[in-house]
Amino acid sequence: MSGNGASAVEIQGLNKWFKAFHVLKDINLTVARRERVVICGPSGSGKSTLIRCINALEPHQEGKIIVEGVPLSEEVGQVEAVRANVGMVFQQFNLFPHLTALENCTLAPMWVKKMPKAKAEALAMQYLERVHIPEQANKYPGQLSGGQQQRVAIARALTMEPRIMLFDEPTSALDPEMIKEVLETMVELAETGMTMLVVTHEMGFARTVANRIVFMDFGEIVEIAPPEEFFTNPKSGRTKEFLGQILR
């Protein structure tokens, strides 16, 4: 399923409206394979909406999105084909509360990929080990801490063996002492060469892990720059203002 070219995600002329409200304005963004892109910006700037368009959780009205060579379109099967390549981690974890951590991880491999149960469980355990919580496999989400839940959610997305991982403010709902364990898991994932698009306010993570930082405001991409340049020499006044507020 290797797409054409070297880009994992290609977004051209993307426009999206919620009713009359123009949330995404003429977005152009190309993410290379193995690249790690952090998207930041003030709340309401459209950054979450942007990554939610990539796996079609949000429909868009204009423009082209091509994920691993598969264009997102209305055609039957296209959305499923794109989602098979894309894993997603949510701000609110969205674990299934009636299933154990292990069952959360085996469900999609068993029913989407038709994997036998034993194989799916072995795979799930492998990823639960990778996020360092194999011992919690048989607990229900309600019995885990926020950080543990988010790590299960990461493992759950990884069991589908996606080529791209989307993170939608993965640490924003966590207590400060839990943020670190989730960020460490994400750093480890980055080291494996996973293509990652991360919406986050964690500027430390952005600085050390990102290849490029995308700054959005009012539904537009204001600036795209490597972290070094982004933090030390931002071009736009809006970026400077944002960094002034967030860094201090």
């Binding site: 969205n94 509360p97 999609a108 959610a153």
Partner: protein, 361 residues
């Protein structure tokens, strides 16, 4: 370092218990006295009527006339067969016994904790058992036919209730999903169906099914079958709304997480959404079942002698004309209904506990 012991828990004595629970304030004391007075006023006379002053032996109404201030239990004892079988052919009643025994065994297996293979037993109860029960009750395959007009009593009540319950849950789920569908046709049809059935009284529906349809359409439908279909459709509309309530309580994130992992609509419904929604709606679902069980007594309107119908028929019988026949009949039928409904209610409570034990939110 010495370990601190937990503080000793002092068990309250009976006097303290009374003070804490029944007489903790002047208002509570007053309410307690009032409640005791009510109990004395109602429960004691009932006990007197139902047990102490009641006629227990005898085979005719004379035994009851002799004890005019008490219940007439010989009426029930003499007619217990009618209360269970209606007018089902005497020689064939073993078939009803077998069906009831099968139902009871299956239900007990499914509800008692700790028994193995519940899934298998459940599957048998939902697939093979209805077929066997149908053949046993109706006849065919070498068994003599017993026309449904002769059925009555508990079997009518149970057949209508069980069929209604078993049919209304899946139908209700489909209707609830349909009502939340994004497809306008599916949604429109579901809404129309639900609102139609919720808008008509069950009595009307039963009457139409039994009398008007054959009249208008010129086809003779088995009356019991018509009633079964009417009850199933009627209760599925209510069930749909109960389940829709549960569906609406599921956070949007659950749908999104399922979709993001590539699960299709039916997969996310079956594995993610419905298990949670049904658990949330369980108390209301069982509430509907209980209502349905009691509503089955309305089939007496279209000429069936269900449990209540048999009691009413008995009270009109000159052979049992005593001042207490009707009261005794209604008390007995009420007790049977109460026992069935209360069991359902307790089991639902138990099930809630079991389902909640693993998943603490």
């Amino acid at each position: 370092m010495t370990q601190r012991r937990p503080p000793r828990v002092v068990m309250p004595g009976p006097v303290e218990w009374l003070r804490d629970n029944l007489f903790s304030s002047p208002l509570n004391a007053l309410l307690t006295v009032l409640a005791l007075f009510l109990v004395y006023w109602i429960v004691v006379p009932f006990f007197q009527w139902a047990i102490v002053d009641a006629a227990w032996s005898g085979t005719t109404r004379e035994a009851c006339l002799a004890r005019e201030n008490g219940a007439c239990w010989p009426f029930i004892i003499q007619r217990i067969d009618q209360f269970i079988y209606g007018f089902y052919d005497l020689a064939q009643r073993w078939r009803v016994d077998l069906t009831l025994a099968g139902l009871a065994a299956g239900l007990m297996w499914l509800t008692l904790p700790g028994l193995p293979a519940k899934r298998g037993v459940g599957a048998v109860m939902l697939t093979a058992f209805p077929v066997v029960a149908f053949v046993l009750l109706v006849g065919g395959v070498g068994l003599e036919r017993v026309p449904t007009e002769r059925w009555g009593g508990l079997i009518i009540t149970l057949v209508v209730a069980v069929v209604g319950i078993v049919a209304s849950l899946p139908l209700g789920i489909l209707l609830a999903l349909g009502r939340r569908s994004e497809l306008p046709v599916v949604k429109g049809l579901s809404v129309a169906f639900i609102e139609f059935w919720r808008g008509v009284p069950l009595i009307t529906v039963l009457f139409m099914a039994a009398n008007m349809l054959p009249l208008f359409m010129g086809v003779s439908v088995n009356k019991l079958l018509a009633a079964l279909i009417a009850v199933a459709l009627f209760s599925s509309a209510y069930m749909a709304e109960v389940i829709r309530g549960g569906l609406q309580a599921i956070p949007k994130g659950q749908y999104e997480a399922a979709a993001a992992m590539g699960l299709g609509y039916w997969q996310s419904m079956i594995f993610i959404i419905l298990p949670q929604a049904l658990r949330l709606s369980l108390p209301n679902i069982v509430g509907n079942f209980i209502g349905l069980l009691k509503d089955t007594s309305l089939v007496s309107i279209i000429g069936f002698f269900d449990l209540l119908g048999i009691a009413q028929a008995g009270t009109a019988d000159a052979a049992w004309a005593t001042p207490n026949t009707a009261l005794t009949g209604y008390a007995f039928v009420g007790a049977v209904y109460w026992a069935m409904c209360f069991s359902m209610s307790r089991y639902s409570k138990h099930l809630e506990g079991v389902l909640a034990s693993g998943e603490k939110r």
